[in-house]
Amino acid sequence: MHISTYLGRLKSAETQLAEAFTVVATRHMNESEIRERCKMFAEWSSRHVKELEPFINRYGDEPTRVGEALRGILFSGTRSGGLGKLYDLQDLGTMTNAVRTHYTILAEGAAAARDAELKELCERLGQETNRQTDWLCTQIKTAAGQALVVEADKAS
């Protein structure tokens, strides 16, 4: 039974995602929408970790640093101006997609293990993760044109 493996991976991934959202919100304080939405999504991901706790208690978890590892690869390099904003949004998208895949896998495992409660949780939290990704896609589409064709003189 490797349910605990995936619970551990999810806990790591969501915890890191919550932190990443918070850091991006702080980095773009003057981008009102990014600031507010990333703060909200950080809360969502933190809440997800709490909602996973009862199942971690039930199945145990295997602590893992898979979330840290992914976050460490992303979010590197100088991040200024419009391009910096795009990189941040894109990297968040990579993380939300990773989280989403985890939920998909865990949902299948829960179904196989006949744990209806866990399956329902994974589907619900997976949907919320989709909403995070959808917002990132919308933001990226909106910001990309300007970021690519115009050079801002400085990050401000």
């Binding site: 009102s32 419009g82 300007q146 115009v150």
Partner: protein, 814 residues
């Protein structure tokens, strides 16, 4: 505060002119007229044939004319001299668009007179309508272009000013692309001007940065209509007020914001079979005082309140299941979401007593017909679009749409605001078409005869106002053309806006009739004509189109916005794909006729309208086409909405996050004409009161002023009626701060400070209210007066409309 109107129950006869008596007698089929004795002054003001049929400053809403069904005529007039001629027009100072004629003598406007035949006002005018024209002749009018040289604004010729703008435009476009150029326009232009600006921006310069100050007042209305019904377009008619059994007004202080429409409501309320009235407002306004039920939720809690009402309606079985099955999708999610909002939970979160909620829900659930109106108390608040959509839901769950007496009005702040939406001068695509619908884009490209890739290629809407200013702040927008609006007073967080406008690398053009606080910071100022000095059309909140003919010449070298745009296009030599001039028209009528072809078959169908038709009758609603040659009263009469994937205006959004629904996802579940019932749960506002800033500040309008008082502040009667800013504070809070009425206080938020006299009463404890009109053009540049010094740079995820209506604040006695 205005004197409260006194009503006398007995019919009185004061000294009326024979003409007034004649008018009175023609209205007997519907009414008993009740006339306050002291307020009807029909005597000439002097020997010049001046007339003032009523004192609209003292008595804002005029004498009562109780009615059910047909609303009577009452011609309001204020002229300072007898005119030589009357010119057909309508008022632009609120979204009613009351029909009026402009009186002209010796090349000057000498007054106005309402038009009795008109469907919108039946001759009535409010205080701004009766007095606002006086601003046209203010000595402060800009008469000559100005260019900033050696640190100051100096007079220049039109050639110099336009050459400079053209040079700057070309330089930026060539070096950095047109994405460095942005437009911030106004809700005060005419349809023809918006249409010209739209093609100038889209196909001429080809920039995505185009928005108007309508973002601050009307964006949520448009978005809410689109989310629920598939396209923009208010479904109802002002005649619905004449027969409805109940009126629900949320975040809408109609007594202040649309005085003539409020007169209509009052006349129903005093007539036979009066409608029930439910008002939702944290303040005890004049509107709230009239209500049968006044719900005063805590600031920021519209969504819980509306969910609570919907929950009760559903629990009580007051929903039209069969109609919903046939005409809507999404009810199940609404049921699940609203279920979480019991009356007790609503009371805990909003402060609204459970029994009041129950009483309101009983009316909404059982009334035979219902008119709802929504305005800035929803649109400028947290979760604006989500809340506005819940009001649509109240109508959708009961099937109360598309029939006489049943309508939802997502209101506007200006009558011309509707036209920015229809012409694509704000975030919407022209004629309510869809950015993500290739067939729609092709239709526009073909009509304008431009190559497809000249048109903005991406399938996202244009940049919204606050993002335009953010791009300017970060330096990726370097030219900002501001037209007929005053962001240095009307945008949130004014200290930041001033910083942005004063940036060295930002070239600011301000096109306006007066030198505003924004103009004072510009690099180039272009003197513009006002209403009355140019011809054009505009459309109000119930789709009624009026024409306004030019009555007088603009002063000095001022020109209409229309002419300025045409001049710019000619100097830039914008061409279509056949190398012919891009702009195919030379006068407003030409622009109108060109625009209306694009609207054929769209919801806002103007194809049956002409200048001649609008000039001979009065206001005519769209759609106006072969099928409805005199306009159509209501939309969605057959319960078929504009949600089909090939017809709709957008594919909708997540109401909480603002994420766009993809075309693929939408098409996979194409509702094909069914309306969307979209649920939304409560998200608490981000800036909640805390120890440092324990109160909640809200901002709003006064009846006598329009926007930043550029015009109304220069009209003596209006200015005298409301000369100064104030802070409205509750008795409780005043007592805690040892405050007497009129004593000076300082209100601070994390953004700035405003000093103002206290006005005690009619507001919930813990809340403060400051009117937003008072800038600093007339007080020696003292910034501590504008409400927006205090507001925050935050906006709705879907509509991008700023959250003017809340901020955490503290108050100290000065």
């Amino acid at each position: 505060m205005p004197k409260r109107m006194t009503t006398h129950k007995t019919k009185t006869r004061s000294s009326r002119t024979p003409r007034q008596a004649a008018e009175q007698s023609t209205t007997t089929e519907s009414t008993v007229s009740v006339v306050p004795v002291a307020d009807l002054d029909s005597a000439p003001m002097n020997g010049n044939g001046a007339r003032q049929t009523r004192d609209s400053i003292q008595d804002i809403w005029g004498p009562r004319a109780p009615h059910y069904g047909m609303w009577s005529e009452r011609i309001d007039e204020l002229t300072v001299q007898a005119p030589d001629r009357w010119v057909r027009s309508a008022c632009v100072l609120c979204s009613n668009g009351c029909a009026l004629d402009i009186g002209v003598k010796d090349g000057k406007i000498v007054g106005v007179r309402g038009r009795g035949m008109d469907r919108v006002n039946r001759g009535r005018l409010g205080p701004k309508g009766l007095h606002g024209w006086q601003a046209n002749h203010s000595p402060d009018r800009l008469k000559q272009p100005l260019i900033r040289r050696n640190g100051g604004l100096q007079e220049a010729s039109w050639s110099e000013a336009m050459d400079l703008i053209v040079e700057k435009t070309r330089e930026l476009s060539e070096k950095h692309t047109a994405h460095t150029i942005g437009f911030y326009n106004s809700g005060q232009l005419f349809l023809e001007e918006y249409y010209t600006l739209a093609i100038m921006g889209d196909a001429g310069i080809s920039t995505p940065h185009m928005d108007g100050n309508t973002r601050l007042c009307t964006a949520t209305a448009a978005n809410a209509l689109i989310e629920s019904f598939g396209t923009d377009g208010d479904p109802g008619s002002y005649t619905d007020f004449d027969v409805t059994d109940a009126i629900f007004m949320i975040g809408h202080n109609m007594s202040n914001t649309q005085t003539v429409l409020w007169s209509r409501v009052l006349d129903r309320r005093r007539g036979p079979n009066p409608p029930k009235l439910i008002v939702v407002d944290p303040r005890r306004t004049m509107t709230a005082r009239e209500a049968d039920i006044h719900l005063a939720p805590r600031i920021g809690t519209n969504v819980p309140l509306l969910n609570g009402l919907l929950n009760l309606m559903i629990r009580n079985g007051h929903v039209a299941k069969a109609w919903m099955d046939e005409h809507t999708v999404g009810f199940d999610e609404l049921e699940r979401t609203s279920q979480k909002w019991s009356p007790e939970r609503v009371q805990a979160v909003t402060g609204v007593p459970a029994n009041d909620l129950r009483a309101a829900a009983e009316i909404l659930g059982t009334t035979r017909s219902l008119v709802s109106t929504v305005l800035q108390g929803v649109y400028q608040s947290f979760q604006a679009t989500a809340a506005a959509v819940q009001v649509n839901n109240i109508h959708l769950v009961r099937g109360l749409l598309g029939k006489p007496g049943s309508a939802v009005f997502q209101m506007n702040g200006q009558p011309t605001a509707q036209n920015t939406r229809e012409c694509g001068a704000d975030g919407e695509l022209i004629a309510f078409m869809n950015y993500q619908n290739e067939a729609h884009i092709q239709k526009i490209a073909k009509h304008w005869n431009v190559a497809r890739d000249k048109f903005p290629m991406k399938d996202t809407p244009p940049t919204h106002a606050l993002q335009i200013f953010r791009y300017a702040e970060e330096g990726s927008i370097r030219m900002l053309w501001i037209i007929g609006t005053n962001p240095a007073v009307s945008l949130p967080e004014l200290a930041r806006i001033r910083r942005i406008l004063q940036k060295e690398d930002l070239f600011v053009i301000v096109q306006d009739a007066f030198l505003t606080e924004t103009g004072a910071l510009a690099d180039v100022v272009l003197p513009a004509a006002l209403w009355g000095e140019k011809t054009g059309t505009f459309t109000n909140a119930d789709r009624t189109v009026h024409i306004s003919h030019k009555a007088i010449e603009p002063p000095g070298q001022a020109r209409s916005d229309f002419d300025i745009f045409l001049d710019f296009c000619a100097r830039m030599d914008f061409r279509d794909r056949d190398d012919l001039p891009l702009i195919k028209w030379t006068d407003p009528e030409g622009a109108f006729d060109h625009f209306k072809e694009l609207t054929r078959g769209r919801p806002c169908d103007y194809s049956g309208l002409t200048y001649a038709k609008l000039s001979e009758g009065s206001g005519i609603q769209w759609p106006c086409n072969e099928q409805y040659p005199n306009g159509k009263e209501r939309l969605y009469e057959n319960g078929v909405f504009n949600t089909s994937a090939d017809y709709c205006e957008t594919f909708g959004h997540d109401l909480i996050t603002g994420a766009a629904i993809t075309p693929e996802k939408y098409r996979a579940q194409d509702p094909k004409g069914k309306a969307f019932i979209k649920a939304a749960d409560y998200v608490p506002p981000t800036e909640m009161p805390d120890d440092a800033y324990p109160m909640l500040l809200t901002t709003g309008r006064l009846v006598y002023h329009f926007h930043t008082r550029t015009k109304t502040g220069r009209v003596p009667a209006l200015d005298a009626a409301a000369p100064e800013v104030f802070v409205q504070i509750s008795e409780n809070d005043a007592a805690q701060h040892n405050l007497a009425d009129g004593e000076m206080v300082r209100v601070e938020t994390r953004r700035g400070a405003v000093d103002a006299p206290a006005r005690i009463g009619d507001i919930e404890a813990g809340h403060l209210f400051i009117p937003f009109h008072y800038g600093y053009w007339d007080n020696g540049n003292d910034h501590h007066r504008a409400a927006n010094e205090l507001t925050l740079t935050e906006y709705d995820p879907v509509s991008k409309q700023p959250h003017f209506k809340y901020a955490a604040a503290k108050v100290t006695k000065l």
